[in-house]
Symmetry: C2
DNA sequence: GTCTATACAGGGATAGAC
DNA sequence: GTCTATCCCTGTATAGAC
C-alpha cells in the first residue's frame, strides 16, 4: 500500500534511513528478541547513528511496535491469499496446510517474531498484534472448514475448531521442532515439509486406526 | 534425588537462600525471559542481596542454566510417568494426550520457559536442555506408537512420528493459544482441556471425512 | 535529516566488613 | 553466608551543531 510515492525518489535517498532502520530492527528483534537487542546494534547494522533512530521513532518500544505491527499485517495478508482454492476437499486441505507451512518457513525470522510475541505474556508490547494475526487466521480456517462441513465434505460431528487447531498446531510444531527432528534419522519428514503436509492431510482425513477402509464410497 | 541430607537441618536455615534464589529466578525468567529480568529483581523477590546471588552462582548465566536444566529434568521426569498405561489403544492415546496437556497447564510457567528456550535460536543458553526434553519426549511417544502399530492397533501405513507431531503440536497449540481462543465464543474446548483431549483423540483415530463408519469391526 | 557529544539510569559483577 | 558499598560498562534517550 502507498507505493505510488516512490516514483519521484531518484535524486536523494531520503526516507531510506528509516527503512533501513526498520529492516535492521526486524532482523535483530526476530533473531534475539526485544531485550537482547540494543539500539547500538540496530544503528550499526542500519548504517546510521544511534541518535538518528530517535529522529524517526519515539523510542525503542515504538520502533519495536512498528516492526511487529507490519510483520503481523504482512503475515495476515499472505495467509489470506491461501483461502481461495478449489477442487476436492482433501486436496484443498493439503494445499492450504502446505501453503501455510511454506510461508512460515519462507519467512522464518518474522514467524519466530510473532510466535515469540504470542508466548510473551502480559508485556506492554506487540502481543495484541500477534494475537490478532493468530486469531484471524484461526477464525478464517474454522469458517472454511465449517462451510465444507455443511456441504457434507466433513463428518458432521467433528468440531471445525478442533481440526483447525490440529492443522495450525502441526505446522507450528514442524517449524519449531525442525532442528531437533533432523537429529532423528528415522523421521522421514524432518527435511521435507511437502511430505509433512501430505502426511498431515492424510491422517487428518482418514485417521490412524486400522480398519477396512472403503475408499471413495460415494463421493459428493 | 539426595534428599536424605535434609534430616539434620533443623537449627539453621542454611541452603535456604540458594533455594529461594532459584525459585525467584525460575518464576521471573519463565515470565519475562532471560534478558528482561535483572538480578536486582531476583534478589528482591528472593529476599537476599544481589551480592548473595553471586556467592551461590557464578553469574546470571549460570543461574539461568541451573533453572532451565532442573526445569527440563523435572518436566522430562513427569512426562515419563505418563507412558505406562494399559487398556484399549484409543483410551491410552486420550489419556496420554490429556496427561501431557494437564502437565503443561499445571506447570505453565515452566512450560513457557522451555518453549521460549526452544524458540530462542542459537543463543548460548539452555537451548540444548529444552531440545533434549523435547526430543526425548517425542522419541518415547514415537516408540510407543510404533509398538502399537506392530500389534495392529494402528494403520500400518501411518507414520508414528507424524502422529506424535500431531499430538504434541496440538497440545502446544492449546497451551499457547488458550488466551486467544477464549475470545471466540463458539470454540467449545477453549476452557475445557479434557474435552480438547477427547476431541483430539477422536479425530486422530477416526479422521474427519464423512463416511459410513463401521464401529468396532473386529477389535483385536 | 544526520551527526557528535553527553546525560543519566541501570545492568552485572567484585571487594571487603561482619 | 550474608551484607553494604562500589566499580565499570552499556543501555536508552536528549541537546545541539551542521
Amino acid at each position: 500500500m502507498a507505493s505510488i510515492t516512490a516514483a519521484t525518489e531518484t535524486t536523494h535517498t531520503s526516507g531510506d534511513a528509516a527503512a533501513r532502520i526498520r529492516a535492521a530492527a526486524e532482523a535483530l528483534f526476530a533473531k534475539h528478541g526485544f531485550d537482547a537487542v540494543s539500539l547500538n546494534a540496530i544503528a550499526e547494522r542500519a548504517g546510521v547513528s544511534k541518535a538518528n533512530i530517535f529522529h524517526h521513532f519515539k523510542s525503542k518500544h515504538d520502533l519495536y511496535l512498528t516492526v511487529v505491527r507490519t510483520a503481523c499485517e504482512n503475515s495476515a495478508e499472505r495467509l489470506q491469499g491461501l483461502s481461495g482454492e478449489s477442487g476436492a476437499f482433501a486436496q484443498r486441505l493439503e494445499t492450504y496446510a502446505h501453503g501455510m507451512l511454506a510461508d512460515m518457513l519462507g519467512h522464518g525470522e518474522v514467524s519466530r517474531l510473532i510466535l515469540r510475541e504470542l508466548l510473551s505474556n502480559g508485556e506492554q508490547r506487540g502481543q495484541e498484534f500477534a494475537e490478532k494475526v493468530f486469531g484471524e487466521n484461526f477464525a478464517r480456517l474454522v469458517a472454511t472448514l465449517r462451510h465444507a462441513q455443511t456441504r457434507g465434505e466433513l463428518r458432521s460431528d467433528a468440531d471445525p475448531a478442533m481440526i483447525a487447531a490440529l492443522l495450525i498446531g502441526a505446522n507450528v510444531f514442524f517449524f519449531e521442532a525442525r532442528a531437533v527432528l533432523r537429529h532423528f534419522p528415522d523421521v522421514a519428514f524432518a527435511r521435507d515439509p511437502k511430505l509433512y503436509s501430505r502426511m498431515l492431510a492424510d491422517i487428518l482425513l482418514r485417521g490412524v486406526l486400522e480398519k477396512p477402509t472403503t475408499k471413495n464410497p460415494a463421493d459428493k
